[in-house]
């Protein structure tokens, strides 16, 4: 099956990005917290990046979800494929106050379960900034294996992992 446009976890709703996310996402993307994902970005870049998340869904039929907690957007997660390679699983919490409560893990594990179990995907890769300790711990927690290959062209210094259906 094609990936669902909404998913639900015990505490979170996952859905496509929409216009009302733009100010929340822009606040994150232009802040110092965006350093681990290649930022901080200009406001115009933040627009392009959120619009590109929606465009990815339209063009590929799947993409990244906005994570909602009690109706409030706190981040995004999901698969990204810019050039037709192995899809990359991504996650980012926009809201610093939402960190440390397992929300990203809960959201990503549901997306992975859905992609592997319901949609038959076999593997994803994960690229993480070398200094982003929280994300490295999370990659290990969800069963990803570190591999010694360079990051993508846009981000060669990233540390890469693979997560396969069997390991998840």
């Amino acid at each position: 099956m094609n990936p669902a446009r909404t998913l639900q976890t015990p505490r979170l709703q996952l859905r496509l990005p929409v216009a009302r996310d733009l100010p929340v996402y822009t606040a994150f993307a232009t802040s110092a917290r965006a350093k681990t994902v290649g930022g901080p970005f200009e406001t115009a870049q933040a627009f392009d990046k959120l619009a590109a998340m929606i465009g990815h869904w339209e063009l590929r039929g799947w993409g990244r979800y906005v994570i909602e907690l009690d109706g409030r957007a706190i981040g995004h997660c999901g698969p990204l494929d810019t050039f037709g390679g192995t899809p990359e699983m991504t996650w980012t919490l926009w809201d610093a106050t939402a960190m440390g409560q397992g929300f990203a893990t809960e959201a990503v594990q549901e997306v992975i379960r859905h992609l592997f179990d319901d949609c038959g995907w076999s593997d994803v890769k994960i690229c993480i900034d070398p200094a982003n300790d929280a994300s490295h711990r999370m990659a290990q927690r969800i069963g990803a294996q570190a591999i010694n290959v360079p990051g993508p062209a846009r981000w060669p210094e990233a540390k890469t992992y693979t997560l396969t259906r069997k390991a998840a």
Binding site: K49, A51, A52
Partner: protein, 173 residues
């Protein structure tokens, strides 16, 4: 909402599909893109291209693929306003080999019609000073140079489109 389909006598303006990006990559490698902001790498191209798709959902405007009635992709027309643009812009590109046949005029006219139907009051085209062919097209569309309009780049001109001077049905005649 995805881009609405607009039909003209010879063309269809339609939402982009994934395979359109290859044609954009080729276009930006060529000299016909010299007057435009070229993507720095393929990742940048990805964000430029997919943003013009997702822009429809975010702000109700974005890019259309231009194809001939037999399905040949020949370029793009887009109405966009990323946050660093002072105003909504209409822009166009035609791929190599399709210029000189009035296709850009026909496609831009259809997009302008659509904009006026949405009650937009004005649109601008930001055009590099030495991009004579795009300036000629803006003028054929009825746009007028607006020296008072704000523009970020020193070498850009602002041509202003308005519902009462262009995009009217006679442009098809």
């Amino acid at each position: 909402m995805p881009a609405p389909i607009l039909d003209t006598p010879r063309l269809r303006l339609r939402p982009h599909v994934m395979s359109d990006m290859d044609a954009f990559a080729t276009f930006f490698e060529g000299t016909r893109a010299d007057h435009l902001t070229k993507p720095q790498n393929t990742s940048h191209l990805w964000y430029i291209f997919t943003s013009e798709v997702g822009s429809w959902e975010l702000i109700g405007i974005g890019g259309w693929a231009i194809e001939t009635r037999d399905g040949q992709l020949i370029g793009q027309v887009a109405i966009t306003q990323p946050p660093h643009f002072d105003e909504r812009e209409i822009g166009w590109i035609l791929f190599d080999g399709f210029e000189g046949q009035g296709y850009a005029l026909e496609a831009a006219t259809a997009a302008l019609h659509w904009a006026w139907e949405q009650d937009m009051q004005t649109l601008v085209s930001y055009i590099e000073k030495d991009n004579t062919r795009s300036i000629a097209l803006a003028e054929r569309l009825g746009a007028v140079l607006d020296p008072a309009a704000q523009v970020d780049e020193d070498d850009a001109l602002v041509y202003r489109h308005s519902p009462d001077i262009d995009g009217n049905p006679e442009a098809y005649a």
